[in-house]
């Protein structure tokens, strides 16, 4: 599995993007940001990130649709999708997994937990 150490962040909340960027860069990964769903897909195709951290409720395409688009892209088969959303019901989780997400985290998240998960993804794929 080829690794380029790139993580794509998709969220419409600039402050959340800022926080995630700081935490991830601190661990030495590359960060690419997108402020809505369609931009997120573009960036994913462009940068072929190892991990996509996806919000669900965004203007335009929602996170589930973005996940599906990524899953349907041949070039992005190795990308790990992590949902990071305020939507926390079991129904939402189910939708998240069935649309192609591997990991489902709810906001507000724990900084350390998120960083650990990212590290694990890179270690064990």
């Amino acid at each position: 599995m080829k690794r380029n150490g790139t993580i794509l962040l998709v969220d419409d909340e600039p402050n959340i993007l800022l926080a995630l960027e700081f935490l991830i860069q601190q661990k030495g990964f590359n960060v690419v940001k997108a402020s809505d769903g369609s931009k997120g897909i573009q960036q994913a195709r462009k940068h072929q990130p190892d991990i996509v951290i996806l919000d669900v409720m965004m203007p335009g395409l929602d996170g589930f649709s973005v996940a599906k688009a990524i899953r349907n892209d041949e070039n992005l088969t190795d990308t790990t999708i992590i949902f990071l959303t305020a939507k926390g019901t079991s129904q939402d989780r189910h939708q998240g997994y069935s649309s192609g997400g591997e990991i489902y985290l709810t906001k507000p998240f724990d900084n350390q937990e998120l960083v650990d998960i990212i590290s694990e993804v890179f270690e064990f794929g």
Binding site: D12, N15, I16, L20, G60, A86, K107
Partner: protein, 907 residues
């Protein structure tokens, strides 16, 4: 035996009969108890046993064993039910003065004249041949005795009528019927003398038959065992007396059923059982006495038939004459003569009663309606009673002459039994309308007419018609191929039903289709007021039994003079006076003081006339003198009191039901509203919590970052701290908005109003959003046709409205080429602000509710709800507090276009 002797003894017998009748008629007025006896009543019912029984049963038994039995089995089976059914019929007829079966049917079905005529026609067609075979029986037995040669039969058919003894007998019977059947015009049609004579004849014929039977069994043979022992040795005879005999089960069934009906519905039976009944309690005795009589008179039928077959069959003697020929053969001329007289009595009683009954029907239902109108108009004519009796007498003569002619020209070829059965089935057609008439209120006139016509036509087609074919009047092809070659129209196998014998076939089709038509038509046609009244009177006779007042749905008015005139004309002056006096004392009224007749008098008159003229005729007469009023509401209410209660009850129920239904509907709709509200609340809470989660997520993340990275550069530290501040403010704002909502909902809190420069307010708000506008690259325009605009209002609240609208516009404006436009104008002292943005339009299904609480524009393309769902609701609420409004307007170039109106203040 010598001719002279025979004729003189016959005449003596007839004289005896006249004597009995005369004696009873004379005494009748003074001493009623004797003729009132239930035994006389039961014996008079035995007029059922005619020459058919006397001669025909033996004839039938000789060829079909027990085949004669169903005719007697039917009445026997039904006898216990007479107490209920016959009693009801009798009560109805007494109440309504009904005097014939035709009148009964006509009266039950709205006093329909047409039904009366129809019933008379059916009766005439059915009964004339029946009377004629009685004449045949009389004449052949007389001939037999005079010739003493059993082989010389039917010779009289070729004699001219003046040499035919039967003709003279016919004349004598007519005379008898006229004397005792039409002596006076009795509204009740009671003929005590006639009934006494009939009862006498019933005893006579029974004794005669028993005498012959005893002679045959004990004179010709050595008792029953000897007779049967000899019969068993003859295989052909033994064969007959296995139970199946000559008939199968269906034939038994139909014969029994039809006989049940015939016993009460044959005009003569109806006459003796109902019209001549003067005490309904007599029915109880009759219900066991009549079966007993039938048993006795049938006791020797089989023995005589066997004996005849054993001794006479080979000589080619007709089995119908065994009763006579067996004694003759043994040289017992006296006994043979007694037997002949027995048959004679059976025949004469039937002929007399049937003729009287038929003549009542013919004159009342057929002829009277035709003459009444003419009579009423012609004032010069004398009283009618005499003329009525004249009509009756002519009818009797006509009936008997018709019967005689039938016997002379047609009736020769047929046995007693077959013609009897044809008659039975004809009158059995009355059974459906009579039974339905007694127990089913919905049965109506059209149904009865339809049923009777169909039944009668099928009867005619399946039974008498083939006899006409046999007589050569029609082509025999019809029997083989049906009418016009249609196979379904074969008289002996209608619609291909060919496994029944002719009688069962005819009975099955005529009775079942008659019944079906009656039920079907009654269910699907309307019933008029008279029919409803009569139906109730018949079906619920016990309700009216005790009632003095005549119940009437139809209100009529007539003058007393007209009533007197009508009564006098049709019943005679004397009788009319007696009746009116009776009425006066009964009702405690003085009629001479009244001008218009009370309705009871009109009903009384109609009832009295019905007795004399029949229901249809008397209805016609009353119609000519009485004005019929449309029934008034009050009368209707009184008349239908009982029905009314039920109606009210059911109406109340219906109302309750409707109320319940309405309540359920309201509850359902309230429940739905609650559910919608609940749904909205749930969405609202989920929105609010989501909106809270987002800033908290940032705050938590940055607080941790700051805590874990104490050596961050200062600018980063400041940046992160600013985020903490702004996100905290965001939380505070959200909470405020929710609280605002609560505040607004608590409403009617006094708002302080002040003069506001609205243009300035607009510009100020626009400035606070200018940073966001430029960040998002939005194109903003403000267009105003006025320079100055002052309004009265609360500045904070109105600012909130504008802020909400701005937030809205910024959220929905196109993310790439966003446009927002504000346009201000004054129309009729009203400020109009149009707030527009491009981008995503509000979905049509949301447009109606966009200003409601908790409503958010939320669809999958938008991803998340844009706000709390409270902004526009708050706007509307505030504007309404300012006596203004906010609405969505359509504009082709703009996605969203809000129109805000506020009252303007002129400087």
């Amino acid at each position: 035996m010598s001719k002279v002797l025979i004729i003189s003894i016959t005449l003596i017998y007839l004289a005896l009969l006249f004597g009995v009748a005369y004696y009873v008629d004379r005494k009748g007025g003074k001493q009623k108890s004797w003729t009132n006896s239930p035994f006389i009543y039961a014996l008079s019912l035995a007029v059922y046993c005619t020459a058919w029984t006397f001669f025909g049963s033996v004839g039938r038994s000789a060829s079909s064993g027990a085949g004669f039995l169903p005719i007697y089995l039917g009445p026997t089976i039904l006898a216990p039910v007479w107490i209920i059914v016959l009693r009801k019929i009798v009560l109805i007829c007494k109440k309504q003065r009904i005097t014939s079966i035709a009148d009964f049917i006509s009266s039950r079905y709205g006093k329909s004249a047409f039904l009366g005529i129809l019933a008379v026609i059916i009766s005439v067609f059915g009964i004339i041949p029946y009377i004629s075979i009685q004449l045949k029986a009389i004449s052949s037995s007389l001939d037999l005795l005079m010739n003493t040669d059993p082989l010389l039969l039917n010779v009289h058919a070729h004699l001219p009528f003046y040499e035919d003894s039967a003709f003279y007998v016919t004349i004598l019977l007519a005379l008898f019927a006229i004397l005792f059947g039409t002596r006076h015009l009795d509204p009740n049609e009671r003929h005590a003398g006639l009934i006494a004579a009939v009862a006498f004849e019933s005893i006579f014929k029974l004794l005669a038959f028993l005498a012959v039977g005893l002679f045959v069994v004990y004179g010709l043979f050595d008792g029953f065992s000897d007779l049967f022992a000899q019969a068993i040795e003859r295989e052909d005879i033994a064969q007959l007396f296995t139970f199946e005999g000559g008939m199968d089960g269906t034939q038994w069934f139909w014969l029994t059923l039809v006989s049940m009906f015939a016993f009460l519905l044959l005009p003569r039976q109806f006459h003796v059982a109902v019209v001549e009944n003067d005490n309904p309690d007599n029915i109880q005795t009759a219900s066991w006495l009549v079966p007993l009589y039938l048993l006795l008179i049938n006791l020797f039928v089989i023995p005589i038939a066997i004996a005849g077959n054993l001794l006479l069959q080979e000589q080619g003697i007709e089995p119908d004459t065994y009763v006579l020929t067996l004694p003759l053969l043994a040289g017992q001329e006296g006994l043979a003569f007694l037997a002949a007289l027995g048959g004679f009595s059976a025949a004469t009683s039937m002929v007399i009663v049937a003729t009287v009954a038929l003549s009542i029907m013919i004159s009342n239902n057929l002829l009277l309606p035709l003459v009444i109108n003419a009579e009423l108009v012609d004032e010069t004519k004398a009283e009618l009673p005499g003329r009525l009796l004249g009509i009756r007498r002519v009818s009797i003569i006509c009936v008997l002459l018709l019967s005689y002619s039938y016997f002379k020209f047609v009736g020769e070829g047929y046995s007693l039994v077959s013609i009897g059965l044809i008659s039975f089935l004809a009158v059995a057609q009355f059974a459906p309308p009579v039974i339905a008439g007694l127990y089913w209120k919905k049965a109506n006139r059209k149904g009865a007419i339809g049923g009777l016509i169909i039944g009668f036509l099928i009867w005619g087609f399946t039974l008498p018609f083939p006899t006409l074919i046999d007589a050569g009047l029609f082509s025999t092809d019809i029997l083989e191929y049906g009418i016009g070659g249609i196979h379904g129209l074969k008289p002996q196998s209608l619609l291909g039903l060919d496994h029944l014998d002719q009688f069962s076939h005819a009975a099955f089709w005529s009775l079942s289709l008659n019944t079906l038509a009656l039920i079907g038509i009654s269910l699907y046609t309307k019933t008029n007021a008279t029919e409803i009244q009569q139906a109730d009177l018949f079906v619920n006779i016990y309700k009216y039994q005790e009632q003095q007042e005549d119940y009437s749905l139809i209100q009529r008015q007539a003058s007393i003079d007209d009533i007197k005139m009508v009564l006098a004309r049709f019943l005679g002056i004397k009788k009319a006076r007696i009746l009116l006096r009776k009425f006066e004392s009964y009702r405690n009224l003085d009629l001479s003081r009244l001008e218009t007749a009370p309705s009871e008098l009109i009903n009384f008159t109609e009832t009295q006339l019905t007795g004399a003229l029949g229901a249809a005729s008397s209805k016609l007469i009353l119609a000519s003198i009485a004005k019929t009023d449309a029934i008034s509401l009050e009368e209707m209410l009184t008349a239908l009191e009982q029905t009314q209660e039920i109606l009210q009850y059911s109406r109340a129920l219906e109302k309750k039901g409707q109320e319940l239904e309405k309540l359920t509907k309201e509850l359902r709709s309230a429940n739905q509203q609650l559910q919608e509200l609940d749904q909205m609340k749930a969405e609202f809470i989920s929105t609010v919590t989501h909106e809270l989660r987002t800033p908290i997520t940032s705050i938590k993340a940055f607080a941790k970052i700051l805590a874990e990275n104490p050596d961050l550069p200062n600018d980063r530290k400041n940046e992160f701290l600013n985020v903490l501040v702004s996100e905290s403010e965001r939380i505070a704002r959200l909470i405020n908005q929710v609280l605002d909502l609560e505040k607004i909902q608590a409403t009617d809190q006094e708002l302080s109003f002040e003069a506001i420069d609205f243009i300035q307010l607009l510009e100020h708000t626009a400035t606070t959003f200018s940073q966001q506008v430029s960040e998002k690259g939005i194109n903003y325009h403000f267009v105003s046709s006025i320079k100055e605009m002052t309004i009265m209002g609360n500045k904070d609240r109105l600012t909130q409205v504008l802020v909400n609208l701005w937030s809205n516009a910024l959220k929905f404006a196109d993310p790439q080429k966003g446009q927002i436009q504000l346009e201000l104008q004054e129309v009729d002292e009203t400020l109009e602000l149009i707030f527009r943005n491009n981008g995503k339009a509000i979905p049509p299904e949301k447009q109606d509710t966009i200003f409601d609480k908790f409503t958010q524009v939320q669809d999958s393309n938008l991803g998340k709800p844009q706000g709390s769902g409270l902004g526009l609701y708050i706007c509307r609420h505030i504007l309404e507090q300012h006596h203004g409004s906010v609405n969505l307007t359509a504009h082709p170039e703009w996605a969203t276009s809000f129109l805000i109106r506020l009252p303007a203040v002129k400087n």
